[in-house]
Amino acid sequence: MHYESPVREPLITGDKSYHDITVDVAKPIETNAPRSWWIAFSVALIAFLWGIGCILYTIGTGIGTWGLNKTVNWAWDITNFVWWVGIGHAGTLISAVLLLFRQKWRMSINRSAEAMTIFAVVQAALFPLIHMGRPWLAYYVFPIPNQFGSLWVNFNSPLLWDVFAISTYFSVSLVFWYVGLIPDFAMLRDRAINPIQKHIYKILSFGWGGKAKHWQRFEEVSLVLAGLATPLVLSVHTIVSMDFATSVIPGWHTTIFPPYFVAGAIFSGFAMVQTLLIIMRKMFKMEDYITIQHIEMMNIIIMVTGSIVGIAYITELFMAWYSGVEYEQYAFLNRATGPYWWAYWSMMTCNVFSPQFMWFKKLRTSIMFTFIISIVVNIGMWFERFVIIVTSLHRDYLPSSWTMFSPSFVDIGIFIGTIGFFFVLFLLYARSFPVIAQAELKTILKSSGENYKKIQEK
């Protein structure tokens, strides 16, 4: 009944019972934070506050505080936006696509990966909002009648598609996450001793009691949400890429963008999941649930998607040459050999070269090495967006308009601020939410738990 091939490595190590899973998942919430948590939280909070300062300065003074100029009128803001949205993609991929493929190893990482998705999309959404200059008029992006002062929104525009895609993606990811959280909040509620804590989890758990009919509905709702989230996640980065692909700028106007962006998004997202989980499993001693095998699986995905991204880069170069269009050819030659050559080659090194180390089992099962590569990949993916955006813009149609872009301290401050904000949210989440989907994980204990597998083999 609970049989799984002995060839498969156990997904839960150690001699665990159902109750042990409960205790282990509740531990970070019921005990005081380790010192490492406080250090990380303080650093993140300082970065976040610095970011708030820079955002307020931008809103108070104007977009002129950024390093933008007439030629490069889109730079770090959109780079950061695309970077953060891309990071979000891995969470949905883990929770939805791996659910549809019935990959059991997703269960101990999907909760945190989805949290990462939501927190990353929050950071992403900040950038278009700040870039509006007058964020209090942000409601203009929604279809509101002409009497409000603007015309109807333009449904032909990819920027508006983006509004719809990001709002749908954010809100659907949020309910997907929350539906899964409810049974685990109920577990915390039933364990809580402190009355305030009990009351908070009572509110959050919506009265969940684990009735048979409710579980039946829960499973169908999860499956349907996964089915909806899968095309949704692909659509989001497709639409983000159309912000560029539907324009006529050489270097942007390519049909390869949607799949290339989606692959890049999954690539960077998995790298961020690795960064977060490697820290978290250490900080909260979750090594029995987030095993080396989980890390290895994710490294393989990083390797595959990194190679897809590499093929996309090469295809882009080939198509530029093959098109015979001088402007297109120049755009790509300029990327590799022009004044931004260092950004291009950083991108190539970090994204195409570094994941190839994962072909070696020794390296992809090394925690330290994985951690380093995960950071390298995220730097590389940030450069990818920077290369696409800034190097395509900085050589305008008239050579007299050719410029360079250099970020102001506000550009840098806002970017660092969003990283801080992201980690503030994630660290708070790690201390107050069940970081592992314990109810789901209990369903595979008897088939994939180390102790149960040993009994099976006898």
Binding site: H19, W152, F164, V175, T443
Partner: protein, 189 residues
């Protein structure tokens, strides 16, 4: 409150497989299992209890269709009917001609409606809302205990024996059948 014509016993198991195996003999003896509380979705439990298939997926399909219709109506009204514009040399003459540009909106709205309204339906059908009192009578059923609530008419000892044989770890009488008591009737009236 209606008079309870049947007593209810709650039985706890500490293993999902033991609980699952016990259901068939209990039901074969003619007892009605009123409810089961489990810490995680036990596969095959709905089948053993004879629960009907859930229609959550069907509601999602209907809500998705509504979302698609809303997106079509919205794009038609704003772009074609109310205020047609010539944007970038691409005039808005008919919805059909502009439709390719609306596909992303139609898709997003379909997903938005299907996902959110299905989850709302799920909450309503389950009777779940923020701050509701926990529905499970025993807090251990969200940890590692599996509970069945069984209705019976007299013959408590017989049922207890059956449950013990099936591997129950705890058996409690939770509701006693009420005799026809006129005082109570009046008190409620």
């Amino acid at each position: 409150m209606a008079n309870k014509s049947k007593s209810v016993i709650s039985v706890l198991f500490n293993d999902d497989d033991v609980m699952l195996k016990s259901i068939k003999p209990i039901r074969e003896k003619g007892y009605n299992i009123r409810e089961a509380y489990t810490p995680f979705p036990v596969h095959g439990l709905d089948h053993e209890l004879g629960l009907a298939r859930t229609r959550m997926a069907i509601t999602a399909f209907i809500f998705g269709a509504i979302g698609l219709a809303v997106a079509i109506a919205l794009t038609y009204y704003t772009m074609i009917s109310d205020w047609p514009q010539n944007i970038g040399g691409k005039p808005s003459f008919s919805w059909g001609e502009n439709m390719p540009a609306f596909v992303p909106i139609m898709f997003e709205m379909t997903v938005f409606f299907a996902a959110h309204l299905m989850v709302w339906t799920y909450f309503v059908r389950n009777g779940m809302y923020p701050g509701r009192k926990a529905m499970n009578p025993d807090p251990r059923t969200t940890d590692d205990m599996f509970m069945l609530e069984i209705e019976f008419d007299g013959g408590e000892d017989e049922l207890r024996q059956l449950l013990k044989d099936q591997g129950a770890v705890e058996i409690n009488l939770v509701e006693k059948a009420e005799e026809e008591s006129p005082e109570l009737e009046e008190a409620h009236a």
